[in-house]
Symmetry: C3
């Protein structure tokens, strides 16, 4: 291995040279990470990470799903059963099992992120395999015990300027407070993710709403509920939040009359709502959240289209986020209409759309973002956050909505060590795309330099109001 | 800037050299423009175009939608409100605003068409920006006042052999008559577009049908209505028309019994039809139009899949065609069945299919056109009339239906000055595609030369019976 | 012509050189053909093939559909009407007609397969056209009369290691028995394709089920019917079958209670079931077949998404498989859920999914196969079994499910002479894909060599348990 300095660049020498020049000018830019899932506790407590398997394998559903798809049991990768049964293998056994199957990742971004992390953080330039699994395990285990590899030190080593976490509406943000009061220079901001108090089909919905109302001293009415959201948004905003995030099964939005919305709220809260009403309520809440964003300036992110927990026996045994979320066809042109009718023409609002259905890029998303002042396109997401996925995102959106209706890169990860690898991949792929436009004379190299900087840094910072 | 002679060609030197040879042999071919939206009055009256903003910006929804998406008000781009309120800024102010935002178009076809027009028509080789906006405005304003830049002179300068306009069924085609009786050598032909008398949900439908019947002396019966269409088609054909065009929300077709069709006609004409009946009537009329094409030989074009006027407040203020038409998922395999069952096996009929849902190219459209004798595929359309869009069109259709079930290029534009730029782009992209097939030995260069000529000229001329 | 040794490789010299090295190492590997439609009688009887038109044109719907789409009558290509009317033209006349239209195939895989066959089997290196049609006809006619071009000799010449046929559930497999008892070294295995006894909308369904029950001595009950399948599967397995195949209109699966399934069976057998019940029954049978695969180890293939016989007048005149099957949008994420809930987590089961809707590759199929242990992805199929189609398959699946959740190549053909051409094309396209990953440093060349061998040989052999 040893990472090649020209990786992911065009193969043709002239285009490659252009890509290299573009990349060299942005490779060292600070990282803006406006959407992700790292733990605020890491920055607050600054403890050493646990063993290599717990760092790289067990919590990473990209890693475990691939091995599971080839017959490896999740238990053998350290994933614990919900009922607490079974004993976890030790980290070394998990690491060996992963090493034995590492060839499965050929051609995947997981492989590239993993090797980038090994080299950039640990100086490891060998390919992992059964023969060197123990040696690499020892080397990593030793390194992560040192102060240089604690979360705050890595924040600086990675060149992070600001990083957003994703936090439930009920979260007390105590770790965020701890970070801010500690005097540390790092900037870690929360994101308001109210799914658990908005989705009537989520487990514990009524209890969650009850807690939300209790926290904010509001009554169980539609206006009390909306005020409770306003209060929590303000609480998040006071702790640095600049955005909200909404992960719904579809992009459906509604714009009911206040009376109808109030009735719907009562029904979903009573537990008597069926799936159609739960869906309508989620849709109504997207529009309400957009209106609140008009009031308080928080940027709104919509992440629709994942069929969560597609595998019921796996969900029963191991719970959510174990690799069994599957994308599905997602309509935007009809689904977003209610929200857009209400707020789409407001240039002071920013709604960032994501998709797991890449057919929507050219057909719906780029045309919508290329028209509505309130809309921007989030980057290629999840299964598409990959070299080919990011290339297709640019090829199918730029011609219709340009670069400036997109918002730079999101790493969207809980794998802290992969953050620089992911941003580096995005910078390389974007520079490769720009280099092709320069090489076939659609852009001048000078403007490609400006664009490369926007894609790597400027657009994310401005779109997320960081 | 200064247009690079190798723009849009493959970057790899061998493939680029092949593309250059192919392109050089077709670059100078006459332009066949079988579908577009230029004004017949231009050719009839041959007046000078107005100021640069009115020529390049205000009427071009590609230009205004991008600025609107980034918060610029349409009023400030000279778009007038329906109610006549507000005062239009002067052309220079609009031009300056456009120049200030010109960077938004990086990576879009609009940028390439605009720069091609500036250079080819005005000899301008600088990139537009705030610093040179006034100077370029003056230069263009001066040039368009000269006789060399009037519509008929440009027709010759652009090398147009024939150009089709798109005209409502009720249009008297007086400008077309004026062109033909003027003795000018240019060939400008109308196209029969009956949407306003076919779509019961269009504003003024019943009035429009009334006018249609009055124009043709037919009674308000199903057979009278059909005969009225026959008469108007003949009227258009006598003025040079070789084609009809149909812009429906979907590709739905129907083939009702005459009795059922007559009942449906009565219902839609009475104004009592709901959306499902309006949709069925549009579908029935596609099949009727196809049957009339069997009779009179007019080529039939179907342009489905646009969600028109998606933005109601913008529509209320500014009307249609302001950048708020959004593509949507479009089914062909079921939708076209009634029409195809009726006439699909007739090799003397030509029905040309377009799409705004590029997922249909490989899945439905190429397989349909690669089987039914009556079907051909129109070129990449609207949001897809772009370098990447046209490349994907070829890559996803050729392997199934070949080149000869496609019909060459349509510029589909109301932006007269962009016509040579659009044809040039299509010729370059097709030559680049062919060059790649030659370079990896799927085609011989000799046959690629024949194909390049067909794609640039021959297929359009034959498919549209020009 | 003369096939170029670098055809289908990347154009850029460095990537081309890598592709060449990868290809050179796999070009000579034996052919594993685990899914196809050659006739078992060919291997059993080993007779000479008939004339060139009957060999290359009349039975090949890829060939006849293209000419039909351009107005050639099927009768003139030797396709016989169902009612026996008309007289077939002689082979030479058909061949001349094909030669006259051969330019239509430019850019299609049919052209590449045809020319590969001409050169590899007959040593013909000229392009077919009107001028040499007679000469080539004579040359081919002469060659196929020789013993060297009989089916068994070609099996060896083509380097086939094993080839699967596709056989109805009622087939007596007598030709397979004859092959096996003949002492010949070739390995020809049947595949259990029960569509005619599973699809209540298929012609003669009830009769077919009656025959199935009679063949196996089972009663007309749900359990008798299931046992009859078990018996026939065992019969096939005893004759070498390692797989079943299921060609349904959709991927819909069901998992009804035994009582509900029994009721549904009675209803469909009675002929009183409507389309929804027929669809539910097909869906139920996919899950039943998957359960039987858990019992007997046969690999299960699902080929959904073709709208069969889309052209009713052509079907009435000429019957099925005449080029009028059209792909349609296909859902997998919801459709497969019942089957996957029942058996998806079983790593000892292999269910291979195909699609004619390539939008499902990245959105649904790769995420499903990258999670469920029982799922694998079949190769690019039918309209997508082409250079661009196979490239897109790799580009849209590998990043999510890697190479090891795919199963190598299927030629899926009834055109015996095209088998080496098709495998060669797949090997070239896969090597080209791998070469690009090596050239931009996503893979090492050493591991690309291992992968090339897996894609060309190993994966198919293991996935199909051959």
């Amino acid at each position: 291995m040893a990472l090649h300095p020209d990786r992911l660049f065009p193969v043709e020498p002239e285009a490659r040279a252009i890509a290299r020049r573009l990349y060299d000018a942005v490779a060292g830019l600070k990282i803006i990470s406006p959407h992700g899932h790292t733990e605020p506790a890491w920055y607050a407590e600054d403890r050493a990470f646990p063993d290599p398997a717990a760092l790289f394998i067990t919590p990473d559903h990209y890693a475990t799903r691939m091995l599971y798809s080839q017959g490896v049991r999740l238990e053998d990768l350290g994933v614990r059963k919900r009922d607490g049964s079974g004993t976890a293998p030790d980290g070394r056994a998990i690491w060996r099992l992963f090493a034995k199957h590492f060839h499965l990742f050929a051609g995947t971004p997981t492989r590239l992120w993993f090797e980038h992390s090994l080299e950039a953080v640990f100086g490891i330039t060998e390919r992992l395999g059964p023969a060197n699994a123990d040696a690499l395990y020892d080397r990593i285990a030793e390194a992560i015990a040192t102060p240089q590899l604690r979360p705050r030190a890595l924040y600086d080593k990675f060149g992070i300027e600001v990083i957003a976490t994703t936090d439930g509406a009920l979260d007390d943000l105590a770790y965020h407070d701890a970070v801010r009061s500690s005097g540390w220079h790092g900037r870690v901001v929360p994101t308001y993710r109210p799914d658990a108090v908005v989705d009537a089909e989520a487990p514990g919905f009524a209890d969650n709403v009850g807690k939300l109302l209790a926290l904010t001293g509001e009554r169980a009415t539609w206006s009390g509920y909306l005020n409770a959201h306003r209060a929590r948004r303000a609480f998040f905003k006071a702790r640095g939040a600049t955005a909200t995030d909404h992960g719904h099964a579809t992009a459906r939005t509604e714009n009911l009359s206040p009376a109808d919305a109030a009735s719907l709220f009562e029904k979903v809260l009573s537990g008597k709502a069926g799936p159609a009403e739960a869906e309508a309520f989620r849709g109504q809440m997207l529009t309400e959240m957009a209106r609140m964003s008009q009031e308080d300036g928080l940027v709104m992110q919509i992440h629709p289209g994942s069929y969560r927990n597609h595998n019921p026996s796996l969900f029963a045994n191991f719970g959510p986020d174990k690799g069994a979320d599957i994308p599905k066809a997602t309509d935007y042109v009809h689904a977003l209409k209610s929200l857009l009718d209400a707020v789409g023409n407001d240039p002071s609002l920013t709604v960032i759309l994501f998709t797991l259905d890449e057919t929507a890029y050219s057909r719906e998303l780029a045309p919508l973002a290329g028209h509505y002042p309130a809309l921007r396109l989030g980057p290629a997401w999840w299964f598409f956050d990959s070299p080919e996925g990011m290339r297709r995102f640019r090829e199918t959106t730029t011609e219709t909505c340009g670069f400036y209706n997109t918002v730079g890169f999101n790493d969207d990860t809980r794998a802290y060590l992969s953050i620089p690898a992911r941003h580096d991949m995005a910078r390389r792929v974007d520079c490769a795309y720009l280099a092709r436009l320069v090489a076939d004379h659609r852009l001048d190299e000078e403007e490609a330099h400006d664009l490369a900087r926007e894609l790597a840094y400027g657009l994310a910072k401005r779109a997320y109001r960081l």
